[in-house]
């Protein structure tokens, strides 16, 4: 919401400086977003008179002028068609910067004739769009004076951000009221602001035929006509005010409605009576009805929307935008002024549906003052008569505005109780009164809410009003009560798991990334497809929710590779979004070089599925998963290399992770080169340990040293190593404490189709050392178990 300092002072009697006013605005909740004085960039432009004008000797379209800008005649070359002797205009001295293009004026020769400055157009000074000629000023403009000061544009423009609850401050008067309440002056009576004695505008003759057939969407509709008006450009003071806040003047009738909207927060609409037929009715739109709005676009309205229509057409998308057909033009002589109250929710729905925003909608959907219809119409009628002439009719009324008196019970002690600020009761009452509330004191105060404060409906709102005007600076700093002793731990088991996993993965050399929760649908499809597609994505690339964290990491790996990264180790902790809910997941991706080319190790090596498995196991261990009990299950997800991937689980129904090489087809789709090792850990599937006991069991190291025995087995080449290892481990659960595969060999001495696996078995004696017979018995059971489980035979 923009306004100028002088505009504010039309409503606010104040001696406060600009800085004081700005500080006051922000202090009472109207945050100042900017202050700009348009005169600042015009300080070097003066009022000048053209003394003589003669054709340029070298150019048909140029003239050579002599100009007096207060310091005697200067020669100036000018291309404006309206430049002529006697004209008063705006002159830029050498050294001045032209606002519109940033050009610094200097003495220059134009086609061989010296020019000492420039006569300016409104567009060059950014005061309007007119560039057909130079500015022409009235005969009484003082030559040599600063133009901006004379033109009254030496007037700071203040831009405040009005929160959606404060419709009353969507007009300058409401802002003035808040400032007055905050002690920055007094609010002038409305009649004084408009320089009239009374709001009782002279009226004769019957009002127009109007009706509301939609009392929900348009509960009240007031109208009157003014006959015999002359429409044309509005008065310069009104144009200047509108321009100053970035509004384009259109015609007197339209400018009046705009001016009142910005001045009083009261949107109005004016119809050209000549273009109406029959009564003007607020009603629900009929299916398929169309209206060409004043922005030039045609909208199809539907029966949920309120419109204003006559017998043959829709003329207004109620409360949002008027129609082109009945808009006022230079030929308008009779005008109908509409001052209506539209239901805020209905306006919001219609605006959202039509995707149509307007200054009127912004105000109506926040709820304009239902008690200001008569005064609004009176001011509008007054201005039309004053600026365009004409005779006003009586007011026609349809429906009633929702002006039920609202009273809020308020305990003044709540200011201390809720805001922590002690404000004296008399001061509280004074603040509320200045804001327009009525105050009836007692044990519990009864606060009458002014009709323009739709946002107030409870005690907390009154506390805010009092404290806001008293000043939030008075809110003290009150320590929260602290529980005795050292602060208790607050992290949940899941939060601890997350933190440990994250830091373990970083400690292993992986870089944590945070990638979008969104994916392009085609990418999501590579990872099983998304269960959640946005209705209104910001772009097609961010349209579906990720079913896997791998896609985001893969895209990140690609970006890094494109930037020249040779080795990418990334991980992310975040959620996957599935139909059944959101799942906390950790994912990792290893791409490029595992080890670079090096003098000690030779050629570079890439990552493989075992690297992914190692990282997955380490992260699961950090997360507290019982890694000793994990089994490797075959892969199921199509985005993995079918022969080089697997799942880690405590059983087929308790899968904790998947790992492996990315399917080469998927990698190719994602434009990734070389083998890419990935893993996803399903952190929410990891069983949570019971509440931990701090004390550990007693330390009982074995009394005797363990012994090791080696076995080499021949097995079928497709035997999973884990099957052999598990069988051997299970051969004697007491004595065997560890089994390790130390060699895996095919070739000379190993029959075709078989493989040799050599194991070291660790045997832990109990109270007494093993005898040879005992060792032989254990060996026999190892060989038997291996034979039984996987058909292994001891290699000769």
């Amino acid at each position: 919401m923009k306004f100028t300092l002088s505009w504010l002072k039309e409503h606010l009697e104040t001696t406060a400086s600009l800085d004081e006013i700005c500080a006051g605005l922000t202090r009472c909740g109207l945050e100042v977003e900017g202050v700009e004085n348009p005169a600042a960039k015009l300080s070097a432009f003066r009022i000048a008179r053209v003394l003589t004008a003669a054709p340029h000797p070298q150019a048909d379209k140029l003239q050579v002028l002599t100009v007096d800008a207060g310091d005697g005649p200067l020669q100036v070359v000018c291309g404006a068609p309206n430049a002529r002797a006697g004209l008063l205009g705006v002159f830029g001295m050498p050294g001045a910067t032209v606002p519109a293009n940033g050009m610094v004026l200097k003495v220059a020769s134009i086609r061989g004739v010296e020019s000492n400055g420039m006569m300016c157009s409104t567009r060059e000074l950014e005061l309007g769009d007119d560039h057909d000629g130079i500015i022409e000023l009235p005969a009484d403009a003082p030559v040599g004076s600063n133009y901006a000061a004379w033109a009254g544009i030496d007037d700071p423009v203040i831009d405040v951000s009005v929160t959606p609850n404060r419709q009353d401050c969507m007009g300058v008067r409401g802002i003035a009221r808040d400032l007055a309440a905050a002690g920055l002056g007094t609010l002038k009576p409305l009649t004084e602001a408009y320089r009239i004695d009374t709001l009782d505008v002279p009226r004769t003759g019957a009002g127009p035929a109007i009706r509301t057939d939609d009392p929900e969407g348009c509960p009240a509709f007031l109208g009157c006509t003014v006959s015999g008006v002359r429409n044309g450009p509005s008065h310069p003071w009104m144009q200047a005010k509108l321009r100053a806040i970035g509004q384009k003047p259109i015609s007197a009738l339209v400018d009046i409605t705009n001016f009142i909207m910005f001045d009083l927060g009261r949107p109005l609409h004016v119809y050209d009576v000549a273009k109406l037929s029959g009564p003007l009715v607020a009603r629900k739109a009929r299916a398929g009805e169309q209206v060409q709005a004043l922005n030039g676009k045609t909208y199809t309205v539907d029966p949920t929307m309120t419109v204003i229509a006559d017998d043959h057409a829709v003329h207004d998308i109620g409360g949002i935008m008027g129609g082109m057909e009945s808009g006022c033009s230079d030929t308008t002589t009779d005008v109908l002024i509409e001052c209506a109250y539209f239901d805020p929710a209905s306006i919001a729905r219609t605006g959202q549906k039509l995707m149509l925003t307007s200054d009127a909608r912004t105000r109506f959907e926040r709820g304009v003052d239902p008690g200001f219809l008569d005064d609004g119409l009176a001011i509008a009628t007054h201005l039309v008569r004053a600026l365009c002439g004409g005779t006003a009719s009586e007011i026609s009324r349809a429906g009633t505005p929702p002006v039920a008196a609202k009273t809020v019970a308020y305990r003044p002690a709540r200011t201390l109780g809720l805001a922590g600020v002690e404000v004296d009761e008399a001061a509280q009452a004074a603040i509320l009164t200045r804001l327009g509330f009525t105050v009836t004191t007692g044990d519990v105060w009864q606060i009458g809410v002014p009709s323009w404060r739709r946002d107030i409906d409870g005690e907390a709102d009154i506390v805010e009003e009092v404290v806001r005007i008293h000043g939030y600076a008075h809110v003290p700093s009150t320590p929260l009560p602290r529980a005795p002793g050292v602060a208790r731990p607050t992290a949940t088991p899941q939060q601890l798991l997350e933190r440990r996993t994250r830091r373990a993965m970083a400690a292993r050399g992986l870089n944590e990334a945070v990638t979008w929760s969104f994916l392009p649908p085609a990418t999501a499809a590579l990872f099983g497809g998304s269960d959640w597609t946005l209705e209104n994505p910001i772009s097609a690339d961010l349209a579906t929710m990720r079913p896997s964290l791998l896609a985001g990491l893969a895209a990140a790996a690609k970006r890094n590779a494109d930037r020249g990264a040779t080795s990418v180790r990334l991980f992310e902790l975040g959620r996957r979004y599935l139909t059944g809910g959101e799942h906390l997941t950790a994912a990792l991706l290893l791409a490029g070089e595992k080890r670079g080319r090096d003098w000690a190790t030779g050629a570079a090596t890439g990552f493989d599925a075992y690297d992914a498995k190692a990282e997955a196991l380490a992260a699961l261990a950090a997360a507290g998963a019982p890694v000793d009990r994990l089994m490797v299950l075959p892969p199921v997800d199509g985005w993995y290399h079918p022969g080089r991937s697997g799942r880690l689980g405590l059983g087929p129904k308790a899968i904790l992770a998947s790992f492996g090489e990315l399917h080469p087809r998927v990698a190719a789709e994602l434009d990734l080169k070389g083998s890419v090792a990935v893993a996803e850990l399903f952190l929410d599937a990891i069983p949570q340990p019971k509440s931990p006991k701090r004390s550990r069991g007693a330390f009982t190291p074995p009394a005797l040293q363990a012994v090791k025995r080696d076995f080499a087995f021949l097995v079928a080449a497709d035997t999973p190593a884990d099957a052999l290892l598990r069988a051997v481990r299970g051969a004697d659960k007491t004595a065997i404490t560890d089994v390790r595969l130390f060699d895996r060999f095919t070739g000379a001495g190993v029959p075709e189709g078989q493989i040799s696996m050599a194991l070291t078995v660790t045997l832990q004696p109990g109270a007494a050392s093993f005898t040879d017979a005992e060792i032989d018995a254990i060996s026999a059971s190892v060989i038997a178990a291996a034979g039984k489980a996987v058909g292994a035979t001891l290699r000769g």
Binding site: N165, S346, G417, L418, A419, G458, L480, R482, T515, R559
Partner: protein
């Protein structure tokens, strides 16, 4: 005679330049038919008196030779090892393999820092779904369907689901966690709720996904004064400065009343921001007293329970503390950026070790 022999042997020992030569001397002296062995054998044929004299002499001879042999052997072994090691010399300037250096993302680090600070103030960490329904995200927070504030939020919606009254959306703030907490937990409540939030907005300072932390305190006598203290305490601890001034400005959030926007005092020198003082103001937080209707919506009696809530952007806090200037880079996973702005795995924020790294 023994004197001469001893002198000869000791000189032969000294003259031995290799372990082999030394062994030859040893065998020649102390071996089965060595010169010293031969002399020792003569002791058996001596008279007791003669033996009384010769015994100590010969034993002395043997001990002197043995000791000289051992000493010489040690010298020769040392020399041999030195010679061997001299041949084993490697170029110690050769580079060794680099271990990959991992990193923690600044968002995670800042979340951990906040969790640590607020744990000391008695706040637990709460969470909730990112795919929310419009009741939790809006209605329960006193934002009815047509409220302009809904439009303000630039919400991402999911298509209507058949048979469901609820409109699903991506939460636009972490405030739904307030609702979920108040509906499942008996007051008094002190929580923070960090997490991802979404708005359909994208430019240099806005990304469609970002991170917020919500704070909520519900008790019997909580006022805006507690809100000021809590945030002052948090800002002091987080930015590790003592001189912190907060400026409270009236504002509007449908779910708080009174509502406040909070600026932190700061200064700019040479284009660098420092938190502290009151030279300039930086808007960082929004909050207020939880609206009585919100409390009632959660099934609590607003005449009994009251409190404050606040929200702050985590990414923004990270930027202010650690100096990043482009929000979009947070989500780009550029390894160069992660290495530059990331944290080491063991930089765990603690109260004793500090909450900054």
């Amino acid at each position: 005679m023994t004197d001469t022999l001893q002198a000869d042997l000791l000189s032969a020992i000294d003259a031995a330049t290799s372990l082999d030569a030394l062994e030859a001397v040893r065998v020649g002296a102390l071996g089965k038919s060595g010169s010293v062995t031969a002399l020792l054998k003569t002791l058996g044929g001596m008279s007791p008196d003669e033996r009384q004299v010769q015994g100590p002499l010969l034993n002395g001879l043997r001990e002197a030779v043995t000791a000289a042999l051992a000493a010489r052997k040690a010298v020769l072994e040392t020399a041999a090892l030195d010679a061997k090691l001299a041949n084993e010399k490697l170029d110690m300037t050769l580079p060794v393999a680099d271990a990959p250096r991992g990193s923690i993302h600044p968002i995670s680090q800042v979340m951990d820092e906040l969790a640590e600070i607020f744990a000391d103030l008695g706040f637990a960490v709460a969470g909730g779904p990112e795919i929310e329904d419009d009741w939790h995200n809006f209605t329960a927070l006193n934002i009815p369907p047509e409220h302009p504030a809904r439009a303000m939020h630039d919400t991402f919606y999911f298509p209507d689901q058949a048979g469901s009254e609820k409109r699903m959306l991506l939460r636009t703030h972490t405030s739904p966690v307030q609702i979920r907490t108040m509906m499942t937990q008996e007051p008094p409540i002190r929580i923070i709720a960090p997490g991802r939030v979404y708005r359909s907005d994208s430019d240099a300072t806005h990304t469609p996904m970002f991170h917020q932390v919500e704070g909520l305190v519900i008790d019997r006598d909580i006022t805006m004064g507690h809100l000021r203290w809590t945030l002052e305490t948090m800002v002091k601890a987080f930015f590790e400065v003592d001189d912190v001034t907060l400026q409270f400005r009236p504002s509007f959030f449908p779910f708080t009343e009174p509502s406040v926007e909070i600026d932190v005092g700061c200064s700019w020198s040479g284009g660098t921001l420092s938190i502290g003082g009151s030279e300039s103001w930086l808007e960082i937080l929004g909050g207020g007293m939880v609206h009585p209707r919100v409390i009632a919506n959660c099934g609590l009696d607003p005449e009994v329970w009251q409190g404050f809530a606040f929200g702050v952007g985590i990414d923004r806090l990270a930027m202010l503390k650690y100096g990043m200037n482009d929000l979009r880079a947070f989500f780009d996973a550029d390894l160069r950026w992660l290495n530059h702005y990331g944290f080491r795995a063991l930089d765990v924020p603690t109260l004793s070790g500090g909450v900054g790294a």
